[in-house]
Symmetry: C2
Subunit: 267 residues, 2 copies
């Protein structure tokens, strides 16, 4: 199968919800017309064979799903709505391409994400890099740096089990946008990501309750294992279910009082 045929196959099936996307797959660039009063948020994530998944433990469909889910999780963490994605995929074998995009398109359709472009290449191992763009009312994006002393820290669900098909918490983006002062998604372990949020905000915290733990996981897994794709939030308001209080923000040397032990790609 030639590159042109593969791209034609992708372009025919790629979800396109419009919503500002004037030019999608097939030109040198995608073209997006922003609506008045909106800001755009952008995230990019690698999904690499042997690093983020292994074959044949994952099917190509599952890799496509996960690659997009990683980016959607970051969009949720800003309190934003996902709008479009650019998908770069390098594979040893063209047979990988169709089922990969099958899994990815299914998730994109579920959340109204247009596939606006990308790049295809060959590589010894599967490498995917996805940029997801989302929209948020101007000035309202929820950053890591907004936590203030006196606010409560929450996590959005049970932690500790590494998930093959993580569910991006876009269902919670609205409540995050309305109520959270700071937010990030938990992908490198709660202990490391909590440290990052507190440092970005220039504060520390007291732990008031253990994080909720997935069935089959330990409390240590919940603190340090990573790949949870739940949200970590600071809020001055009482957060509704499924948010679960774990601490209170206090003044002090910026960072977590617990030693961060999560994932470091170069550690």
């Amino acid at each position: 199968m030639r590159e042109r045929e593969i791209i034609a196959w992708i372009a025919k099936r790629a979800p396109n919800f419009g919503q500002g996307l004037r030019v999608g797959i097939g030109d040198d660039c995608a073209v997006y017309r922003p609506a008045a009063g909106e800001e755009l948020v952008f995230t990019t994530d690698f999904t690499i064979e042997g690093r983020h998944f292994t074959l044949p433990d994952y099917t190509p469909r599952e890799v496509g799903y996960k690659a997009l889910a990683r980016g959607l999780s970051d969009i949720a963490a800003m309190g934003a709505t996902a709008r479009f994605a650019l998908v770069s995929l390098a594979v040893p074998d063209a047979d990988f391409v169709k089922p990969f995009f099958g899994g990815l398109f299914g998730l994109a359709r579920k959340y109204g994400v247009t596939i606006a472009g990308g790049d295809l290449s060959r590589s010894d191992k599967v490498h995917c890099d996805i940029v997801v763009a989302g929209v948020v009312p101007a000035g309202k994006a929820v950053l890591r740096s907004g936590a203030k002393a006196g606010e409560i820290l929450y996590v959005s669900g049970r932690l500790g089990t590494w998930k093959k098909r993580p569910k991006p918490r876009l269902d919670l983006a609205g409540v995050v946008l309305r109520h959270a002062s700071a937010c990030m998604d938990i992908t490198d372990g709660l202990s490391m990501d909590l440290d990052r949020l507190l440092r970005a905000s220039g504060v520390t915290c007291e732990i008031t309750a253990p994080p909720p733990v997935m069935r089959g996981a330990t409390i240590d897994d919940a603190w340090h294992r990573g790949e949870d794709y739940e949200l970590l939030v600071a809020s001055a308001k009482r957060m509704p279910k499924p948010f679960h209080e774990i601490g209170i923000v206090v003044e002090g040397r910026p960072g977590s009082p617990l030693p961060p032990k999560g994932w470091d790609h170069f550690g």
Copy 2:
């Protein structure tokens, strides 16, 4: 060197020209506030060891330069102004990272490109994927699909020699925006890219002159070799230097009258 230290090193040195970029490196997402009346254009390109370059033929600095130059070339092809980039880099060895970004930042500074975010990971071979975002007045992006019968086809410079440090033709983006009906950059060989532009526009052409040839290259190289990073343009107006006429757009079966023989990643 730990991931946090590497990211701190990058964040400290990354060019930041502001211009709408509200949040850059360090949060879950970058945040961009569009200006009134502007549209955004997006392109993404892999630069992969063994595919787009080899080591040690390229230094890490040269890889960083080339990875960004590929994206800037696409921005020029839309008649757009480059605004910001997201850089994903996977490497076998952390020593590659600093000189890579040194080369990339130098080119970014030259064209006023803010580095807004990215991802870092490990991989057996160097894989880089860069998204570049540019801006263009709403409705004015120059597409591949705009060529009409009677218009003249031009290339923006001499072709045929594979370039280690390609110069993205952002110097020509303004004249492309004002005068071109259709444009694309020549990266997979003129014969293949000409075929793509003509198909996208639903027209064909007659060749009226040979493309200008780089010193040391043959006319066959100029037609088929690829990696030229010059622009292919259709215009109803007379294009100024350095544009060089190669043909005239005519009605007919869409595509090039010459057999396309350029680069196909899955051919």
